[in-house]
């Protein structure tokens, strides 16, 4: 089994009740609570808490934690200390979110100010607030809290039955006898191109880990339940049960392009995956990154340990009579048609089943069971 990132799966969940009366409180938002859960469950191993100043500065400038471990996305807890004068360094405070009944403690090592512009520019390569990641950074409070967290409690949530922690996926892979596992990240129902991509990668390894990102989405995106049910249909009819599993990842997309590709790989390494599929413009948005920047960045990390599998493009070729990619088809664009998510969406929007060479009938039927499969 691949070594967890940094050598150890972190578990910061306290399995006993403690009295939190009298402890200063700080309410956390959806993004922060997902970070807390991912730290506590080991998805962000080796992080045990929110970054302290030294680590943050290293991540921003060098894409590594202070101990040289690769880490590319700042995991920080922002707030405004002028509005919370009772919160000081050395304190333990209670982080809470009423929506999911989250309660967690943070032992505050440091409270510090930071340069938003420098952070945004280094991580996202732009200062344009049209970039959602930059906009998020500029929405943060002026100060950051660094320190270890301990998750005390959280209520059951939608899709918990699809949610496995790294410790659980590692046991699952071991029980299935898989040594090499390829992870596929998705935010959409599968079309034929996705299936081809996954099966091409699966041919070389023991198991496929389909890992949809669940959470905040844009208007017009497919709903989370639609994505999960459509994948279940694909897996039921077209995958060998002993070769593919699906579990969700609750995290917000940062649209950090190349840096986020590394971050996504690290999370999948913690789940126990040895390979990670990285496509064109992975985690990109607009035209802020080159189409293959998320491939090139892996050259900076010879010590990442998880192996990226790069795909450039895939399409259907009339002359080959099959799905092809840029490495295997000698024919030109005039013979090839891309799998257009937009076109598939338009057909589904009319309540129709897309052609079989675009999307499996069973997948489309599952999507069409929903009156409105898209986020409003």
């Amino acid at each position: 089994m691949i070594r967890p990132h940094g050598g150890k799966i972190i578990d910061r969940r306290l399995r006993m009740k403690i009295d939190t009366k009298g402890i200063p409180k700080l309410e956390v938002n959806t993004n922060q609570l997902e970070d807390i859960m991912n730290i506590a469950n080991g998805v962000f191993s080796p992080l045990e808490g929110f970054l302290i100043k030294g680590d943050l500065e290293n991540v921003v400038a060098h894409k590594r934690l202070s101990d040289d471990t690769p880490w590319t996305i700042p995991i920080v807890l922002d707030f405004d200390k002028t509005k919370h004068k009772n919160i000081k360094e050395g304190d333990t405070i209670l982080l809470f979110n009423k929506d999911i009944g989250l309660e967690a403690l943070i032992d505050i090592d440091e409270i510090f100010s930071y340069d938003k512009k420098a952070l945004a520019e280094s991580v996202y390569r732009t200062l344009e607030t049209a970039h959602p990641g930059v906009a998020t950074v500029f929405s943060w409070g002026p100060h950051l809290i660094g320190g270890k967290i301990t998750l005390l409690s959280s209520k059951p949530r939608e899709f918990d039955e699809y949610n496995l922690a790294p410790k659980e996926t590692r046991v699952l892979f071991k029980e299935k006898g898989w040594k090499e596992i390829v992870a596929f990240q998705t935010r959409n129902p599968p079309h034929i191109g996705h299936e081809y991509l996954q099966k091409t990668a699966l041919t070389m390894v023991d198991g496929l880990f389909i890992n949809p990102i669940i959470g905040k989405k844009k208007t017009g995106d497919f709903r989370d339940d639609v994505i999960l049910k459509s994948y279940e249909a694909l897996m039921k009819y077209y995958y060998r049960k002993e070769r593919a599993v699906m579990s969700i990842l609750r995290t917000s997309m940062k649209y950090g392009g190349p840096r986020e590709a590394i971050h996504h790989s690290i999370m999948r390494k913690n789940f126990g995956c040895t390979h990670f599929i990285v496509g064109r413009d992975h985690a990109g948005v607009g035209s802020y990154y080159g189409p293959y920047d998320a491939h090139k960045i892996f050259n900076e990390f010879p010590d990442l340990e998880i192996t990226p599998i790069f795909f450039k493009s895939f399409s259907r070729c009339k002359k080959c009579s099959s799905v092809v990619n840029d490495k295997i088809c000698p024919h030109g664009q005039e013979d090839q048609s891309n799998f257009s998510g937009k076109k598939i969406r338009e057909i589904l929007n009319k309540g129709k089943i897309p052609p079989e060479d675009m999307m499996r009938k069973e997948v489309a039927q599952e999507i069409l069971k929903y009156k409105d499969p898209f986020v409003k």
Partner: protein, 76 residues
């Protein structure tokens, strides 16, 4: 964070002829210095060789996890 944060460095001695060979080889490869190349190679060499810090979980943990995986249909 306005100025580029400096990492801490140490000095390692390597034979001068080797250093010269490396300098020639890295020309035009994207490595900006002998140090950046040596750092890359050393990171690659030690990658995967570090031990796991400790046993990830106990037997009881593992059994509890298997029970949940069975209940959710991930294991038969």
């Amino acid at each position: 964070m306005k100025e580029k944060i400096k990492q801490k460095f140490t000095t390692i001695s390597i034979p001068i002829p080797l250093a010269e060979k490396i300098k020639k080889q890295i020309k035009g490869t994207g490595f900006t210095s002998l140090s950046s190349y040596v750092t890359y190679v050393l990171r690659e060499v030690i990658s995967g060789k570090e031990e796991e810090s400790e046993e990830a979980f106990s037997k009881e943990d593992e059994e509890r996890i298997k029970d949940r995986l069975r209940a959710l249909g991930y294991l038969d």
